[in-house]
Symmetry: C2
Subunit: 462 residues, 2 copies
């Protein structure tokens, strides 16, 4: 928990920014797996965590700016529930710890909002992502789900505030990254021919759970690193495979880490693996060194793409002028996605609030058409206090290669015959998390081994 003052300060700043009306923040509910009372592990909504910090289902907060009131709506346990679930700290007690004096039963939220509506005041609310909250909002506001209209004013105010990480938040992010790094070292010790992908995934999850961490996202633990969102985990690792581990812990306060390492199942890289790895690593360091306030992340992305393209030209996979190749987006045959994204209470921070607001500006909106750029979640100018990932990669997707080749796409820049030699290569990604500082950047968490030599030396012992 942060201090009472922290939560109060955050709420006051939000109210000041939104200026008038009523802010309605909905917490998450418990999601049923296969029947109502068999539920997934509860995860509080990140915005509610940020302004309220209470990890309990079915809460709502009203920040009534006009009447200068803050009310927490939620239900205390009934005697029946105490018999089943034990006596716990009351909601009232939790509420006071985060600086809210007034609590009311959840059922009274509707009444409160009806009065607000009657007085023609505006209710600011966020886009709901949980279906239960879509239904709740629709009922509360008497608006069909399809016609709900989240408040852009509220979204922008929250994005502005949550984007600039406080020092206390950095401590939690670094805690999540510390555990994430341990997960990665464990995977490096375990990976060898004969073990299954999911055995490694299960072990790193266990390691994190023993430190009270969950997975910030479903881990990608795979010998098919060319498949970007690969959650199939039943392959057996074999000599010759490249192994890609993209996994991060979420700490007890809800903050994420998001780290990727790629290495061979064998103790050493083959020359082909080493060459590609070093090209990706060069793109990574190129991007990292460019991090600082005032630079657009889209430009860093393109800068990294150029470094990647130059490397691939050296290896003979691409050809021609590297700048022209990047302008033609030819590199997206190998790097189909974005260089990175904001990170914080969500692994893709605030993705529920809308990528346009988190990663872009009204003046420079997202390019939603160009292959490659349409997958870049963050494009705007960096500010001191941003926390983000840098994660260049090289991915072989046979379907994409065949499609491009049959269309003769970018044949000026792609050496398709050479590319064919890499059809079974898989993928390489290297990812760390950074804080933007006044003059540049700071790597978050302890340094995790990354070079070919470091990884080979570490794995030689296991």
């Amino acid at each position: 928990m942060f201090t009472t003052q922290t939560y109060q300060r955050r709420r006051e700043a939000l109210k000041k920014e939104v200026k008038n009306g009523v802010i309605l923040l909905l917490g998450n509910i418990e999601n049923p797996i296969n029947f109502e009372h068999n539920t997934y592990p509860f995860r509080q909504d990140s915005t509610l965590l940020y302004y309220l910090g209470i990890q309990e289902p079915k809460l709502a907060v009203i920040l009534d700016i006009d009447e200068d009131k803050t009310i927490l709506f939620g239900d205390e346990l009934s005697m029946d529930e105490i018999i089943w679930m034990g006596r716990q700290e009351t909601l009232k007690e939790k509420s006071i710890k985060v600086g809210i004096e007034e609590t009311r039963p959840h059922a009274q939220l509707a009444t409160y909002l009806q009065k607000v509506e009657a007085s023609k005041r505006v209710v600011h609310y966020l886009p709901p992502y949980q279906s239960a909250n879509k239904i709740l909002l629709s009922n509360l506001l008497k608006i069909p789900i399809a016609q709900l209209l989240p408040s852009v004013t509220l979204i922008k105010a929250i994005v502005q505030q949550r984007s600039i990480k406080e020092e206390e938040e950095i401590v939690h992010i670094e805690e999540a990254i510390r555990v994430s790094n341990e997960m990665h070292l464990l995977a490096m010790r375990m990976a060898k021919p004969g073990i299954k992908e999911h055995e490694i995934a299960n072990a790193i999850q266990h390691l994190a759970a023993d430190q009270e961490c969950t997975m910030a996202y479903p881990p990608i633990v795979t010998i098919n690193g060319g498949i970007l969102h690969n959650h199939y985990r039943l392959h057996t690792l074999q000599s010759g495979d490249l192994f890609l581990n993209d996994s991060g812990a979420e700490n007890v306060m809800g903050y994420a880490g998001d780290i990727t390492r790629t290495f061979p199942v064998d103790k050493t890289f083959t020359p082909k693996q080493r060459d590609i790895y070093n090209v990706v690593l060069h793109a990574f360091t190129t991007a990292r060194e460019a991090l600082k306030p005032g630079i657009r992340f889209k430009d860093i992305h393109l800068h990294a793409c150029l470094a990647l393209t130059e490397g691939l030209i050296d290896l003979g996979l691409m050809k021609g002028n590297p700048k022209e190749a990047v302008n033609a987006h030819a590199h997206t045959l190998f790097f189909q996605c974005g260089l990175g994204h904001m990170m914080g209470l969500d692994v893709h921070d605030m993705e529920d609030l809308g990528e346009q607001y988190v990663g872009y500006t009204d003046a420079e909106p997202k390019d939603t058409k160009t292959f490659g750029l349409k997958s870049l979640r963050l494009g705007k100018e960096l500010q001191e206090g941003y926390v983000l990932t840098v994660e260049p990669g090289f991915y072989i997707i046979p379907e994409l290669i065949d499609m491009w080749r049959s269309q003769g796409k970018n044949s000026t820049f792609i050496n398709y015959d050479k590319v064919n030699e890499y059809r079974d290569f898989g993928g390489v990604r290297i990812e760390d998390n950074f804080l933007i500082t006044a003059n540049g950047y700071r790597l978050l968490g302890p340094e995790l081994i990354k070079t070919v030599e470091e990884i080979e030396n570490y794995r030689a012992n296991y």
Copy 2:
């Protein structure tokens, strides 16, 4: 996967039972954790698993009885999705394996249902438990969510069919129980002073995951066994504590195990622990020996309550005539819940379809008022092929004791002074899973050690 014929046979039987109209079965979707694309592990709806067997989100099946058609609605991966997620077996291929020739895009479901509506034919659908399916059903049928009216005919037909387990299903249930038993033995080896509850929970989850099993429900792994639904897991085990482990695996086909064992953190039971344990064990064996077709499970429950009461009278916690005590529900001070429930594709099998239909009959509905009986999920006459749990317990709930005592409740049968000596006792539960056979019952899965001596002998080695 079961055979094509199995799924076809099940669907044909269902159509025959429902007789006419159109059956609409909705699969589950992926549930967002903190934003739309960060989702919990997918779990297919159990009814869809039973009739279709395809573990994929956003499917719907139409069984058009009148027109003798079976159609699977769902979407094939787009090229964009193949790039991100890799080429996979197509929905069409999966569909054919389970005997459905016709697949259509999900978006065409609405059109199909509009035609059914236009022809004034009835659409049978089940009660939705996922909010996303509430919204979907409401949109498809143009009925407000609050006015959705699930088909009792369909519910009853499915309950009748799924209640009688097929031999192939028993194989899977026993597989889940085998893994569950391994989880319990691991917990017995790990439990000792100084270890934390969640370390044991994490280890058993890891063991199950390595065998491709998930948890059939959030495990209750606790030194506060008196709290019936206890998911807090950060206590450190201490000498003198009783440790209760209620956890079960779900196998790769979706079938559950549900096993509970209770034992002391120390190597041996104290006399007090042993006495109570043996009372609960006696109630357990009493109930088990009564299992057979034709007997009402409610009567077995009350029979077990009588055995428990007799034991507690012997120990001086209760007094008076045991039958009168049970008639007065005095035993519910210590055994507040039900003796067991149906089990299968759900740990509380078919709970989403309604307890009234799964556990009771129109002629003998559930007692929803009497404390104790209102928590008995299964009351009706047993049939050959039922799979169920037997799980008597003894739970000390200080809040309940204080409430009853202050009301003078059942003071003829409760020796409150003696009960006070047990305020810190915690709880004991013993639970196994059984198949009802032609002449009685069969324990499912391998036998798991249960007596005081067996548990003490096993734990002596660790």
